[in-house]
Symmetry: C2
Subunit: 360 residues, 2 copies
């Protein structure tokens, strides 16, 4: 089969890590007889440099014409880069929001996994993580504070800023369904996170999730307040299977969760919607400080490519092959600097990509 992938390396370490993911995909193509074709697109600071904005309508249209999107990372150093001297709607991050919205990618899945091989890097004490943990944060991605109306006005000489958090039933229902569907393939537990003791949107969220739950009698649903969830992730991450939450809470909690694993350079993410077209990117950022030094960890991007094979192309076997290759390389003791440990073999970005590709 032939698949057309929008390749958006972005800024900072983006180009290096996407290059390695494409290397691994090429090997998968060779071994399993698929062709992966790429449409190279600009998004983020590199697009600002050329077009004056992070994502042009034309680029978005091109992405829509592909079967999926593989993204590196966008953005630079806020304090130093010219990319942040322009109006907010054109800055690097605005492109990311525009592509999420434009492709209707309302479901963001971020796995938080404590890899056996890397448990040393976990910031939590061993007694809290014994036996490991493996949960996903399922974040609503095209609603809430991110996409509500906002404005800054002046009233009697006093500046005032307003952002709006809105959700309707349908937006909540469709992400909730995803959450329960994912839970059915895992340990059948959904923890829905909100701030229902304060927000109307959270009260609506909670009631719609409860309705959806009726169609999934096998799944255990619990509700947790967002402040409590921020505590529980540190206190006892093993309790979770699927955390289901709205956009801003999901932003905060998924980052906290990924740090709790200690291996943020390993964590992939998928943004999905109504169609098979998904966007796949590492959970980490563009890390401009280490760009171009061949030291970035490409594994999160490579595992994102595996998610792409699984969710957008239904290539289960091929996705497994990538994941197994990553495990093998780790078991053999190879490490990039971010996950380096005593007695292991340190390798760079390119070499890590080579090793994984070789083991497919």
């Amino acid at each position: 089969m032939k698949y057309r992938i929008a390749s958006i390396p972005g800024d900072g370490i983006g180009p290096e890590i996407v290059r390695e993911a494409r290397k691994v995909l090429a090997k998968v193509g060779e071994v399993y007889g698929h062709t992966f074709e790429y449409e190279d697109l600009l998004m983020g600071g590199c697009s600002i440099d050329v077009y004056g904005e992070s994502l042009t309508d034309e680029t978005l249209e091109k992405a829509k014409g592909c079967d999926s999107v593989l993204l590196g990372a966008v953005g630079g150093n806020v304090g130093q880069s010219n990319w942040y001297q322009i109006e907010p709607s054109k800055r690097p991050e605005a492109g990311l929001l525009k592509i999420r919205k434009g492709l209707e990618l309302y479901a963001n899945i971020r796995p938080a996994i404590l890899f056996d091989e890397l448990s040393g890097a976990c910031p939590l004490k061993e007694e809290l993580t014994e036996g490991g943990f493996d949960f996903v944060v399922m974040r609503e991605l095209t609603g809430g504070l991110y996409f509500g109306e906002r404005k800054t006005i002046e009233e009697n000489g006093v500046k005032k800023a307003i952002d709006t958090l809105t959700y309707d039933e349908n937006e909540i229902r469709r992400i909730a369904k995803w959450g329960f569907d994912v839970a059915m393939k895992r340990n059948k537990k959904v923890c829905s996170v909100d701030k229902a003791n304060v927000l109307d949107s959270s009260r609506l969220w909670r009631s719609v999730v409860a309705e959806v739950a009726k169609d999934y009698p096998e799944v255990e649903l619990t509700n947790m307040l967002v402040d409590n969830c921020a505590m529980q992730l540190v206190r006892d991450p093993k309790q979770f299977d699927v955390i289901l939450t709205e956009n801003m809470f999901g932003d905060i909690l998924s980052d906290e969760a990924s740090m709790v694993t200690g291996s943020i350079g390993m964590l992939s993410s998928a943004s999905l919607g109504a169609t098979k077209l998904g966007l796949y990117e590492p959970s980490h950022g563009s890390a401009p400080d280490i760009a171009g030094q061949d030291i970035a960890n490409p594994i999160a991007t490579i595992l994102s490519a595996a998610m792409m094979l699984r969710y957008s192309f239904d290539l289960e076997k091929e996705a497994d092959a990538i994941e197994d290759a990553v495990k093998k390389v780790l078991a053999e003791g190879y490490r990039t600097v971010d996950i380096m440990d005593e007695g292991k073999t340190r390798v760079g970005t390119t070499k890590m990509g080579d090793l994984i590709a070789e083991r497919i």
Copy 2:
């Protein structure tokens, strides 16, 4: 001197822990020659049982007439209690929001301290916390999503909920000043946390904070995105001195920070405003499951009483005396069950209060 304190025990373990704090204050009065008088007030579920709402206007007026407020905790088990079958604006938590707003308590200070004696309870690995940490989260408490307009409407048969996040310059400026003032008495570092890559309110926040910073040339100001801060609290809590942030982010981050210390039963909080009248309460909740069993840890409330002496009554020496007494009792090996450890002496709520009072 004579001080009039509104005493609001609230629900769950509230009455027990406030009782112990009052016991300690009585001893302070005896030793240092002060009189603490109490106005006993109902707030939370216990007020719903009597008046049908969490905080009546009359009770709020009575609190306004006092020199400060000592609060236990409010609320019950959401799933089980009748207190949550009434309209949101009358539920237990609504009382808490009403008193914060009614007394104009816009500055919430929550210390996050790794107590030497209790470092074993910290969920983080020792190498991350060596030497301990001690920072405060300074949270704006009367603005943002908590107090913006909200409504749930139906459009073409589809329910839609809207919450509004607003901040004006003045609201930001006054909390920012508090943050810098507190930093001046500490390690002179303010980390302002926002989501300026998405929210207008955050961009206004960041620019006003930068303005205020000019009046404090000795204080080092950094800006951090909220998702990154949620990570940094787990990765390296020692980096912080004063975290300055808006209401909802502060809710989430301060709870995460208190869990990172591992000793949430020890953490006090103060809510302050334009006048000397402050509200002092433990950072933890009402823990209905363990209410009435004489096992709750009263130390957070006792330390909140110490903050009251310091911030509302300017009784520095007396505040120190309470804090020293707590340290002494811990050093002697006494522990409530939540902080119990091998070789220590387990005591109940009442006994812990007795021990601390004796050492004043």
